[in-house]
């Protein structure tokens, strides 16, 4: 058994009011022991559906999935003993305290009362929730709830962990904190699958990335391989007059290392560049005579990934 998470040809359809929506369209995934796989994609790409299938919350219409060697469809119960899940909406009970939540989860994993209390105490300490441990979760901030939810996923020290958009909706500080926690876990040897809409997050945390669009993988590789395809930093310019967009486009095309993107409605032109600082200075000179309202450097986003890989921007599926 070399792959701890393995999925072959996952298909999931939802019967909509007008037509059937295909959430997953033959997705394959494999994650070796102790590695971190990131599923990167926009809303509606099928990331959550994939996680729900692997966590036994949903049955696939087609395909097979094994987690820690257990078939999740045939033997969901055994699979549940080996996984921890932390989802998009923190699945913790608001009326219980942090400690009560974790102890309850321990009891339901059949750890026994003393061991459950012990695990709760040690997780509360390592997730910086000790001060709030005996307050009802209702009083927690969003970041604290996420940390508690992640702690709940770790109560039984599962060898496989699934994190569904662990930092969506968090402020930058809480996101940093959560990244640190996740890195720590991975150092301990946990096999992890996480989903995210942020290229930066996937880059920071993952060994491998699978880019998902409309239910199937459109690219995969290490973060470096992906970045090589997508390019590095972007010079982004917003001009005052929409008529200047083509002018700016032409000016930036001369120093870009990939395709330049223009958005006339937003009067915005974006160009991938090789040497950020020097190219920004060059761009300023090249744009002499054009009225620029904004100019700057930024890291590539999910939209840039999609533009580079598919030639179209990522779109939320309606």
């Amino acid at each position: 058994m070399d792959h701890v998470i393995e999925a072959r040809g996952l298909v999931k359809r939802y019967a909509g009011r007008k037509r059937t929506v295909v959430a997953l369209d033959g997705l394959d995934l494999s994650v070796p022991q102790g590695r971190v796989l990131g599923l990167l994609g926009p809303n509606g790409a099928g990331k959550t559906t994939a996680v729900r299938i692997l966590c036994t919350l949903l049955e696939p219409d087609e395909g097979t999935a094994r987690v820690a060697g257990i078939d999740v469809v045939k033997d969901p119960r055994e699979a549940r003993r080996r996984i921890g899940l932390s989802g998009q909406s923190a699945a913790v009970d608001e009326y219980l305290t942090g400690r009560e939540n974790l102890t309850m989860v321990g009891r339901l994993y059949k750890l026994g009362a003393p061991r459950s209390r012990e695990r709760a105490a040690s997780l509360l300490a390592s997730f910086d929730l000790e001060d709030a441990a005996d307050r009802p979760v209702k009083t927690y901030s969003g970041g604290m709830r996420r940390r508690l939810d992640l702690a709940a996923a770790l109560v039984a020290e599962p060898p496989v962990l699934f994190l569904d958009e662990p930092t969506t909706g968090l402020d930058p500080r809480s996101r940093q904190d959560l990244w640190d926690v996740i890195r720590e876990l991975v150092r301990g040897g946990t096999t992890l699958l996480l989903t995210t809409q942020y290229l930066e997050e996937a880059d920071r945390l993952c060994d491998d990335i699978v880019v998902v669009d409309r239910g199937s993988a459109i690219a995969q590789g290490t973060p470096d391989e992906l970045k090589a395809k997508v390019g590095g930093e972007r010079v982004e310019v917003v001009v005052a007059d929409p008529a200047d967009v083509p002018v700016a486009h032409a000016a930036l095309a001369r120093l870009a290392v990939g395709e330049v993107a223009s958005d006339v409605a937003e009067r915005r032109v974006t160009a991938p560049v090789a040497d950020g600082q020097a190219d920004l200075a060059r761009a300023l000179r090249a744009l002499k005579g054009v009225r620029v309202t904004e100019i700057g450097l930024r890291r590539p986003t999910l939209d840039d990934v999609f533009l580079s890989l598919t030639g179209h921007a990522s779109k939320e599926r309606s």
């Binding site: 989802g87 009970d93 219980l96 339901l108 059949k110």
Partner: protein, 267 residues
């Protein structure tokens, strides 16, 4: 057998969780205490003197009806709580744990028996204050209370299924109003059956709410002097008829609710 033991062990963990919520949200207990008192007083003093019954006081007659209506309304709590678990996503946590598939429902319905038990104690105390009396033995009275709780427990499983299907707790409350009000009013809860028009009378005679009310009334020895209210089979065998309904409801809604839980997903 093993799965049964697990369902109870995990169910006990869930019961504990539900009771902690009652403790943390005092409003729940407040309304559980106040609404039965309100019902007893309203009916006793507003309708109590408006309706004349032969052989017994109306106040004594209607207490069993109020008991029945209140515990049935109490079971909507089951549906509303489960709908809230669904809405807040806690259900995903439970479904991803290696716990018994029926434990959340077993624990939920069991803790709601506790809530109903509190309302019964409160209602009985209020009833005694306004002149209601048990005219039989203590064990018959206990059997009456037990039958009420059993019926409410069975009804909880119907509400559990509803709670897993609807989009939120408010829907459970609104929907149950529409069903429970006619169910508990087109019965012998507040008026004697012979006063009803023919079609409603037949419905009321076979309505299990009538039989549970009649059974409780008999077991308390209330309304003994009232002339034969109806000769329909359910009314002359109220305990048996009520037990059959409880069995039927449980046989249908326990497996149905557990099946719905297995495929339920948070909203």
């Amino acid at each position: 057998m093993n799965t049964l033991v697990e369902a109870f062990a995990d169910g006990a963990v869930i019961v504990r969780r539900n009771l902690i919520k009652i403790y943390r949200v005092p409003e729940i207990l407040l309304f559980t205490l106040v609404s039965p008192i309100m019902f007893v007083l309203l009916f006793a003093y507003v309708f109590g003197s408006a309706i004349e019954l032969e052989g017994t006081s109306y106040r004594e007659f209607l207490i069993a009806g109020i008991f029945a209506q209140t515990v049935i309304f109490g079971s909507t709590w089951t549906g509303a709580s489960l709908a809230e678990d669904m809405q807040k996503g806690v259900i995903d946590r439970f479904r991803s744990l290696p716990m018994s598939r029926s434990a959340l429902l077993v624990g939920r319905t069991a803790s709601d028996v506790f809530i109903n038990l509190i309302s019964i104690v409160v209602m009985a105390s209020t009833g005694l204050l306004v002149g209601w009396r048990i005219r039989t033995s203590w064990w018959e009275a206990l059997a009456g209370f037990a039958l009420l709780l059993l019926f409410a427990y069975a009804f909880s499983w119907v509400m559990a299924w509803v709670g897993l299907l609807v989009p939120g707790p408010e829907v459970v409350n609104n929907a149950s109003f529409v069903v429970i009000f006619p169910l508990t009013f087109v019965a012998n809860t507040f008026v004697p059956l012979e006063t009803l028009p023919p079609v409603l009378k037949v419905f009321a005679e076979w309505n299990p709410v009538s039989s549970v009310t009649q059974a409780t009334r008999d077991l308390f020895g209330n309304g003994a002097g009232v002339p034969a209210l109806s000769d329909a089979w359910p009314i002359s065998h109220p305990v048996l008829y009520t037990l059959l309904w409880c069995l039927l409801i449980l046989a249908v809604f326990v497996p149905l609710s557990v099946r719905t839980y297995k495929t339920a997903s948070a909203r």
